[in-house]
């Protein structure tokens, strides 16, 4: 094995790969089980976008907060939310991360700094300003990251939050995951500026771009922004171009996409394949090592599905619990 040219040591590279693979396997499995009718509700899959969540989350600890989106499974997994708890949540079981009360769109684990997936577009942006403010008062160097899509980037609250974070100099990063579509509508229809990055200047914060299919590109760019935020340098905006492998939600026929678009992207713009090629070609990690992780991840996901299916349903008598802390 040769010298490691990457900004992450070998253990870190293996961890990043495991994270991405776990997300991919989790989502591919949900796709299949949803089609079988096993899973209720709206399910938005993150497959194809793994390098963004992973490239960012590799810099964070449990003290750092994230506020996610409706497409939140990848953010959850990479922030350390228990995969078994997530799967059970999506199945609506009492053993779920949120006792089956929230489902796919509302998975949260505050102990991991995961402030929730969200059913309201853009809602994470003001919340993360609050997380940044709290970190500032605590003085613990914590940062907050919020995610929003190319579509949700046009919510007023996202834009207001960028200004708020700038005037309060909050340790917050706004991450636009640009997958080219907001539901069926193209990014270019909904947004007039060519690049979301250009909006940074309008709020007096740095705006930077990263290729979201390349773990290393995301990792390096966001590393600097996070370091700057931790040191009191204030907020920033990061746009990552990514690919959504599946439909907007499960059950979407995707007729708004071009013929062969998904196949092309799977073949040429798969962040996992790109990662694998880079680390194996550099001779830092072998295919066998990655294959071993694939096997372990497949087992983990299989086990999470089996235990979710076997888990107890919430009890009707608890319908009204947890509306308030006290009442």
């Amino acid at each position: 094995m040769s010298d490691n040219p990457f900004p992450v040591d070998k253990a870190g590279l293996l961890e990043a790969y495991r994270m991405m693979k776990t997300i991919r396997e989790f989502e591919e499995r949900l796709h299949i089980d949803f089609a079988k009718g096993d899973i209720p509700g709206f399910v938005h899959l993150y497959a194809g976008e793994e390098a963004v969540a992973t490239g960012i989350m590799m810099h964070l600890n449990d003290r750092d907060r994230i506020a996610s989106t409706h497409r939140g499974h990848g953010h959850c997994i990479s922030k350390g939310v228990d995969v078994h708890g997530m799967m059970a949540e999506i199945y609506g079981k009492e053993t779920g991360s949120c006792l089956g009360r929230g489902g796919s769109m509302h998975i949260a684990d505050l102990s991991k700094g995961m402030m929730g997936a969200n059913g309201i577009l853009g809602a994470g942006a003001p919340l993360i300003c609050g997380a940044g403010l709290a970190a500032k008062f605590r003085g613990d160097g914590g940062v907050g990251i919020t995610f929003f899509g190319d579509g949700a980037a046009n919510q007023g609250m996202v834009l207001e939050s960028m200004n708020l974070a700038a005037v309060w100099n909050l340790p917050v990063i706004f991450v636009c995951e640009n997958n080219g579509y907001a539901e069926a509508t193209s990014r270019d229809y909904g947004t007039a500026v060519k690049s979301y990055v250009d909006r940074g200047a309008g709020f007096g914060i740095p705006g930077v771009h990263a290729d979201g299919t390349d773990f290393f590109a995301v990792y390096e760019v966001v590393g600097e922004l996070i370091k700057r935020a931790r040191e009191g340098g204030g907020p920033a905006l990061l746009e990552c171009e990514v690919i959504r492998f599946f439909g907007h939600f499960e059950g979407d026929a995707q007729t708004y996409k071009a013929k062969g678009e998904n196949e092309y992207n799977r073949a040429n713009r798969d962040c996992l394949k790109i990662f694998r090629a880079k680390v194996t070609e550099a001779g830092v990690i072998s295919d066998a090592e990655l294959d071993a992780i694939d096997g372990e991840v497949a087992e983990l996901i299989e086990d999470s599905v089996a235990s979710a299916k076997a888990a107890p349903l919430p009890s009707p008598k608890d319908l009204m619990s947890n509306v308030y802390v006290s009442y």
């Binding site: 209720p40 509700g41 709206f42 609506g92 079981k93 089956g100 009360r101 929230g102 489902g103 796919s104 769109m105 509302h106 969200n118 059913g119 309201i120 577009l121 853009g122 579509g151 949700a152 046009n154 919510q155 007023g156 609250m157 579509y181 907001a182 539901e183 069926a184 509508t185 193209s186 990014r187 270019d188 229809y189 909904g190 947004t191 026929a253 995707q254 007729t255 708004y256 996409k257 071009a258 013929k259 678009e261 349903l313 919430p314 009707p316 608890d318 319908l319 009204m320 509306v323």
Partner: protein, 340 residues
């Protein structure tokens, strides 16, 4: 001439007819075209559940997708309405009203009054309501009481395709702002609907079932659960009248009071939470205006005072069932026997 039409297609047909009739009618909403600027089909979606499918092909630029910016486009619809257009704006799920509430309750609702009766704001805001879709706490709410509370807004909530068509046409022609609530779990429900255009006036409740022993007052999906309860009770010899309010603002108080004066018993059924709800509104009104007619204490059947749970086991008990409604009806009858 009538044929079976679904609740969902009745929305589509009403929009189509009014757009054809009146060039000032324009549609806007997120993905109501659904494919704008995309490499594949332009109108791939026609709304998130396909309600507006085909309207773009027929009416072109008058059917507009919007950026994901509810405060901006709902506000723009209201502004355009104040300037001579008749926009029908779709707020996909009523739960998203938080993102544009100011435009609705401080702007649209108040222009007429604040401007001394000089403004007209003929905007329609269509939104999906209701639980049962496994869509969890932020995509399943009723929120009908919240909009009904506000003076200046009209609130419509049909229970079947016939009413959808007539009430949506009326909503578009109406010169006040209308919140048009569509229950997502009724979209597939079909009834006979005439081919031709017709408008149903606001403030006229329907009586889908007449009866002598008790009055259920309700709207939306709960009309169907109440009719189910009434069928069940009929087999037990209890004759229940069911009132479908159809519009919540204005409210057809006369029909409610007349019915309670006949039956002497009231059961108000509402899929919203119990506090400050349509059910509590009706109960209070009846207590005030038909107190002497009441043979027993009115009952309310509502969803609980909790957010909508995701887990299907919990969501199913969250939504009032025909059994619960029948139980409440019986309570009004047993009470009487005790008193007698």
């Amino acid at each position: 001439m009538a044929r079976k039409l679904s609740y969902k297609m009745a929305v589509n047909e009403a929009l189509d007819l009014e757009m054809t009739r009146d060039p000032t009618v324009i549609l806007m909403g997120e993905d109501i075209v659904g494919g704008a600027g995309s490499p594949g089909e332009d109108d791939a979606w026609g709304g998130v559940l396909g309600v507006t499918k085909g309207l773009f092909a027929k009416h072109g630029a008058r059917v507009m997708d919007t950026p994901l910016s509810e405060s901006a486009y709902i506000g723009a619809a209201i502004g355009a309405a104040a300037c001579g257009m008749r926009p029908v704006a779709e707020l996909m799920f009523i739960d998203f009203i938080g993102c544009c509430f100011d435009e609705i309750f401080n702007q649209a609702a108040k222009f007429r009054y604040m401007f001394g009766g000089k403004a007209e704001t003929p905007v329609v805001i269509r939104a999906m309501i209701g639980a049962g879709y496994r869509a969890a706490a932020q995509h399943s709410q009723m929120l009908t009481p919240i909009v009904t509370h506000i003076p200046g807004l009209k609130v419509v909530c049909p229970s079947n395709a016939y009413d959808v068509k007539g009430l949506l046409i009326q909503s578009i022609r109406d010169n006040d702002p209308v919140i048009f609530c569509e229950h997502k779990n009724l979209y597939a429900h079909e009834v006979d609907v005439p081919l031709e255009s017709y408008a149903i006036p606001f403030g006229e409740a329907a009586i889908p079932r007449e009866g002598r022993d008790a009055t259920i007052v309700t709207y939306g999906l709960m009309v169907h659960r109440s009719l189910e309860a009434a069928e069940k009770l009929a087999r037990e010899g209890v004759d229940v009248e069911v009132i479908d309010l159809r519009t919540l603002s204005p409210m057809d108080w006369d029909t409610v009071i007349e019915s309670v004066e006949k039956t002497g018993r009231l059961i108000a059924v509402d899929e919203a939470h119990p506090r400050c709800s349509i059910a509590s509104d009706i109960t209070a009104f009846v207590a005030q205006h038909a107190f002497r007619a009441l043979k027993s204490a009115p009952q309310m059947v509502t969803a609980p005072h909790s957010p909508v749970p995701f887990s299907p086991t919990l969501e199913d008990i969250y939504i009032p069932s025909a059994e619960t409604i029948a139980g409440a009806v019986k309570k009004t009858i047993i009470q009487k026997m005790v008193a007698a």
